[in-house]
Symmetry: C2
């Protein structure tokens, strides 16, 4: 599993306050704990109304001063994403492109021929399609644009999109069907997702999020935008990897436990 | 999910001691907490060398005095299972038959034409088959015997069998393939399993057991021999039901949370 640490995001109230107050220590701590928890990328989302690019310059500067983990540049504005690429000392992920006008046109040429990757959402001009077939049609159109722009399929992180189960009882089943379709059409792309949309408006969200992660991995998801410091979640992810035949003789599972990445005391005291 | 409460079992050391000492209070408590946690059946396994039937008479008497939940009579000796049926005030489950000589021959005639159910293990004459194809061949043979004995398919709880992931890295994938095959061949049978064999010899067993439960449910398992008083496990089971489209608009999930069946404080304080 490729983990994109989700904690540096201005839409999370405590982090939004830290960004507004330019609280460098707060941001350093979020970067540090996620690197220590072995995140593969650190998402950086300013979530500010004005001066987003300048805010990202500040944010990415601190995070890169504190850690060596590559970044995932997260903005609804594709020009901000592309503009922030030059702040980065190593290639990361642009978050995100979609069929929304102006997205792929700006982002795909910027990542083509580089070592950068790119998240692509399967939303269409009318929002999130209800059916897997319609999401897969959007996938085909996006892959077509990526190929024309010279972006390798292996650099794409496809997000099939998740609605809350409280709104759409078929949310997981449509997500899983979309994942299986993607794997059939193009095995080399990554599939990623946030883990918390599924539980919006429901109690004990982390219980649903955890079961969602396990079922999404079974359907072919190989990346997640998640909190790598959450031991329950990490335990479920390592367990699912082992169960799904992606971790022979549980070597990674046992290693992660020994390192204290999950379990009440972890293997550190065990 | 049909839950068979696993806690009254002489092979669990504390329960074994209670049985040896005829500690009625201990057994009452195990029965009470599992009924309160809404187990559908209570497994009763004496696990003694001598006097197993008499021990089961004592055990089932106490459990039925304390609760109204039907029993799951659990013995390696099919004659003990069948003999203990007459101690029961209402029909339950016999645990278990298999292709092992003398099992179906004794158990199937005893449950045929009654409201009793029966667990059938897919082990063969040479132990647990490695492949799903071989387990399904055993399933076909057992279904054939059940049909000839007049046992309805809907009264069978098929256990596809689980090895530890530490011994067989394909344990879950073979289990899941077997489940899918069973559902295709005979949709009306139940599929059940213990949840803890998968993690034998590995650390943080409950983490693996929980992910196993979620993935087994996805493959078609609709029953489990498990601890209904484990809130983490119950949360994962209710979450999986909701995610897999078996709980429209999460009504059961929300209800179970309100009743305090999972969650740190449950909905009782929420």
């Amino acid at each position: 599993m490729i983990l994109i640490g989700e904690k540096i995001n201005g839409s999370i109230p405590s982090c939004g306050r830290a960004i507004a107050q330019r609280d460098e220590g707060w941001i350093r701590r979020l970067a540090r704990i996620q690197e220590d928890a072995q995140a593969d990328y650190l998402d950086c989302c300013a979530s500010v109304k004005d001066g987003e690019l300048e805010t990202l310059r500040w944010l990415t500067g601190i995070v890169q001063d504190e850690t060596d983990t590559p970044l995932c540049l997260d903005s609804p504005d594709p020009r901000v994403c592309v503009g922030a690429m030059e702040f980065c000392r190593k290639p990361g992920i642009v978050n995100s492109a979609s069929l929304e006008p102006g997205k792929t046109e700006v982002i795909f040429p910027a990542v083509a021929g580089t070592s950068w990757s790119c998240i692509v959402l399967l939303s269409g001009e009318q929002g999130i399609p209800r059916t897997a077939a319609d999401r897969l049609e959007n996938f085909r159109r996006l892959m077509d644009r990526a190929a024309k722009a010279g972006v390798d399929a292996g650099r794409l992180y496809v997000d099939p999109l998740v609605e809350s189960l409280a709104v759409n009882p078929e949310s997981l089943t449509v997500f899983a069907e979309t994942c299986r379709g993607i794997r059939q059409l193009c095995p080399q792309v990554h599939i990623t997702s946030g883990l918390s949309n599924i539980s919006f408006g429901l109690p004990m969200r982390r219980t649903l999020n955890l079961a969602f992660a396990v079922l999404a991995m079974e359907a072919g998801m190989d990346s997640a935008i998640a909190d790598p410091t959450n031991p329950e979640l990490m335990g479920a992810i390592f367990a699912a990897q082992a169960l799904l035949g992606q971790d022979e003789y549980c070597m990674e599972y046992i290693g992660a436990w020994r390192e204290g990445r999950f379990g009440p005391t972890g293997g550190k005291k065990g």
